[in-house]
Symmetry: C2
Subunit: 244 residues, 2 copies
């Protein structure tokens, strides 16, 4: 599915942006990079900025026109910093765009198209697109660097893919600590209550204060190990308190 998502960079001026875009793509599981008439390619700057994604830069397909780059695609979304006069269907939320794009990518090639750093896409190139998308940004300063725009849209595509039931993405999670039982928590709260009284903090059982502290510890969700730490601390404190 992700392999069906093509990133197309049109006449990129700075080779560093090609490398940084490749890196951005690879972190989000995308591999198909096509360059339309890049100003300078290959170039050491592209390799340098690619970091561990040099393979994507080296394997990029170079073509002479956007038409050629997307001929086999069923959806072509042009990333645009400004809205055009051509009323192409427009997504103003990248996550909505990504949901549709990934849906189509389940079956057919699709493309995300990025224009020149300064000039974006020409009107002829917009005509090669089926949709437009813009990245909502600061109205006073809203033009993202090219590779940053690639990163954001690739991130949304990867997110849309992860959230589909058929993707096999599993986040790396640290092994969960064992949780204490209600009974063990009860013993802890009793212990805490005794220490609060023996210390003089509470002169008699005070339901509200005890309930508030119980709620705080409930939010913290102490593991068995942590509860054990806390009980050990209470034990050490108790040794210094007068017997009730």
């Amino acid at each position: 599915m992700l392999s069906n998502i093509r990133i197309v960079l049109v006449q990129t001026y700075h080779p560093g942006n090609i490398g940084a875009s490749a890196r951005a793509m690879k972190t989000m599981g995308l591999t198909d990079l096509v360059l339309v008439n890049p100003r300078r390619y290959p170039d050491p700057e592209a390799s340098r900025l690619a970091a561990g994604a040099e393979d994507l830069v080296d394997q990029a397909r170079v073509v002479a026109s956007l038409e050629e780059a997307v001929a086999d695609c069923v959806q072509v979304v042009g990333a645009s910093a400004r809205l055009r006069s051509l009323p192409l269907p427009h997504f103003d939320e990248p996550d909505a765009m990504a949901g549709e794009l990934v849906g189509h990518a389940a079956h057919d090639p699709v493309a995300l198209v990025f224009g020149r750093e300064r000039f974006g896409l020409t009107n002829d190139e917009i005509r090669c697109c089926s949709h437009q998308v813009s990245i909502p940004a600061n109205p006073d300063y809203g033009i993202l660097n090219l590779a940053q725009a690639v990163q954001v849209l690739a991130y949304e595509a990867f997110k849309a893919w992860r959230r589909r039931p058929e993707s096999d993405y599993r986040p790396a999670r640290p092994a969960g600590e064992r949780q204490p039982t209600r009974e063990q928590l009860g013993h802890f709260h009793d212990h805490l209550g005794r220490v609060m009284q023996a210390s003089g903090f509470l002169t008699q059982p005070h339901a509200r204060t005890e309930a508030q502290l119980q709620a705080l510890f409930a939010r913290a969700r102490p593991s068995r190990k942590e509860l054990s730490l806390l009980r050990g601390l209470l034990g050490s404190l108790e040794r210094h308190l007068p017997d009730k």
Copy 2:
């Protein structure tokens, strides 16, 4: 609210990353940049990569420790490429993190902390944080460039802010074209039906074909102007067809 969101970069090695991060921040409406012990600052590379966000770089506060950078914050989220052994509350979805962060930022300063390019944050620095967040990425190549990570998390923060009822964000939308009435659409469908018959495409009224084409045009949602174009085309075609 957005002005309460601080971006903290810890011991950044490449000044270019400081500039690119400032640019990323500014596109997403953030302005408060703090540098903990940057290797080289000020530096022309930072200004160069900042593009139109040089003001943020120039106004960045420089401090000697992360503790100093976040002392006044009520929530400090460390961006981490890998999960730590310290069981800080962890967001594995940046959008969930951003929702909470922006909620707190309504009232108090909060911070997003980014570590060194190669080494991330030390355990002592993680202890300055209240939460951790990671950006879900390609399990085989998941380390984003520092400024790209700033861009993605700033993008999510801006999105969370936009979606709050009290934000005054309004997306720039092109003026809507006027929509045709049901009656005008009816005239168009009748016209199309006549042309389909007169051309021999349909030898008699065919409800299913007509309904399918009507549905297609319904999806396209032609404006009044576009409907006018279509009717003009049908009229030109009709002139060449035999009278029924």
